[in-house]
Amino acid sequence: MITFKDVSLVYPNGTQGLKDINVTINKGEFVVIVGLSGAGKSTFIRSINRMVTPTSGQLLVEDEDILKLEGKSLRKLRTKVGMIFQNYNLVNRSSVIKNTISGRLGHTGTLRSIFNLYSKEDKMKAYDNLKRVNMEEKVYSRADELSGGQQQRVSIARVLTQDPSIILADEPVASLDPPTSHQVMSYLRRVNKEDNITTIVNLHFIDMAMEYADRIIGMRDGEIVFDGPVSEVSDKTFEQIYNRPIRDEDLRGSEENETSEQE
């Protein structure tokens, strides 16, 4: 369970990233955060693993206020909270398996990790997770030899190898084409259901949010302007969140409809 209590964040340059956020996300939920760019989606998601640090309020992850964590306890939090990025952020020159097993870093001693002395279970885990995202044939390929969709799948495997209880995905499909986007979202959705991992995804595509989310949180100017289950959401809701009529670019398009807009 993740609980935001009056969480605000002001960046050093004075920009208000989050304004008095109060929200609770339950174990196993698949939450999609929607909003225009600059609405605070990224800041929201990055607060949960403390890639950014809110300036006031309380943020509870599994009943622990994470805003005060430092050093070792902060790293321990990050092992529980996996993150997927828009640009995959794989280490380009390293192999797929090395990228995947780096998910174990938080659980592995410094010296052991430098000399690649991972336990057999860890190596099995990395391999099994690559298999789950259908990447087992590319184990020894270099990350930069893969296509965007493949790289994002490896990054899902990396996160799974962490054994997280929460997965954060920051615009995971913004750099992908529509069919690949759906593939990646399906993997995230499946992992969420099969492993009961709380998943929070930032998206700006309305149709994808509707298709995959249990619950949608809408953000504008650092505030939550909508929060509810997908069943309560209509086009009107999005117009409210975006504060303007819906446009073509707000839609990713379906798997068949490949001709639609690409970024």
Binding site: N49, M51, N92, S94, S102, L105
Partner: protein, 273 residues
């Protein structure tokens, strides 16, 4: 390029036939004139006369002819100093490579977020680089006496400045998103460096290391002239005795050695980059 203003097309039309604005053209001409003037002034002030050089050509050729034929028998006694030179270069490069790793990490803003530490190490690095190798060698020779130790020390300091600068600048241009990903898995700073930084900079690092080694081989030669050991010392001695044929033999030997070393290191470099 200045584009014609839409409202005043006729007036500005002539300007678009020049790639540079008039003002820039004028400034460039002025700068060019100043540079040219400076050259001629320097030539006069230092009494460097090219005509005189051509007039003295016979002396130059005379000296050159004196160097031939090279005294090949001398090569045998030049081998040991040559090996010493290479040893100096190897040891100095190794020290520099080892010390430059922490140094360049501490002076890269992608790793060190603390401005004070970052600036301190930047400044140390810049200070190291301002000192020419020959000056360093002279200082160390006067401190520790003639021998290879001051040579090693001088080259270590000299190449450390260069190497740390090159490496830290490479570390500053890496993709920090990859580091972010490692940090987000709960990795500590050493793991972030090992898994995120090292793969990104390793090819450049190896290439810089080889480059510095080549540089050190050549530099250690010059350092011999100020008493820092190696093949430079015997060249210096033979020059003083005006044994030009022996000097020529040593130079040929050196040329071969440098070519071999550079070929080897180029081969190595091509394999890693």
């Amino acid at each position: 390029m200045k584009l014609p203003n839409k409202n005043k097309t006729s007036e500005n039309e002539s300007k678009i036939y020049s790639v540079y604005p008039k003002k820039v053209k004028f400034q460039i001409s002025i700068i060019f004139a100043i540079v040219l003037f400076w050259y001629f002034y320097s030539l006069r002030a230092t009494d460097a006369d090219f005509l005189e050089l051509f007039g003295d050509l016979d002396v130059v050729f005379g000296k050159l002819i004196e160097m031939f034929p090279p005294d090949w028998s001398y090569i045998e006694s030049a081998i040991d100093p040559l090996i010493e030179t290479i040893q100096i270069a190897v040891v100095a490069s190794t020290f520099a490579i080892l010390i430059c790793i922490p140094m360049s990490l501490l002076s890269a803003n992608t790793i060190v977020k603390n401005k004070f530490i970052y600036q301190t190490f930047r400044n140390i690095m810049n200070l190291l680089r301002t000192m020419p190798d020959i000056l360093l060698a002279t200082i160390f020779v006067s401190l520790f006496g003639v021998g290879i130790f001051p040579g090693i020390l001088a080259l270590t300091v000299f190449s450390l400045g260069l190497l740390a600068k090159l490496l830290s600048e490479t570390i500053e241009t890496i993709d920090t998103r990859q580091l972010e990903a490692i940090r987000s898995t709960g990795g500590n700073i050493i793991q972030v460096i090992w898994y995120g930084v090292v793969p990104q900079v390793l090819p450049s690092f190896i290439s810089y290391g080889l480059y510095v080694f080549e540089l050190n081989v050549r530099a250690s030669l010059v350092l011999g002239f100020v008493g820092a050991g190696g093949i430079g010392s015997i060249i210096d001695t033979q020059l003083n005795f005006m044994q030009y044929q022996k000097v020529m033999a040593v130079l040929v030997l050196l040329l071969v050695a440098v070519i071999i070393i550079e070929t080897l290191s180029n081969m190595l470099r091509r394999r890693v980059v």
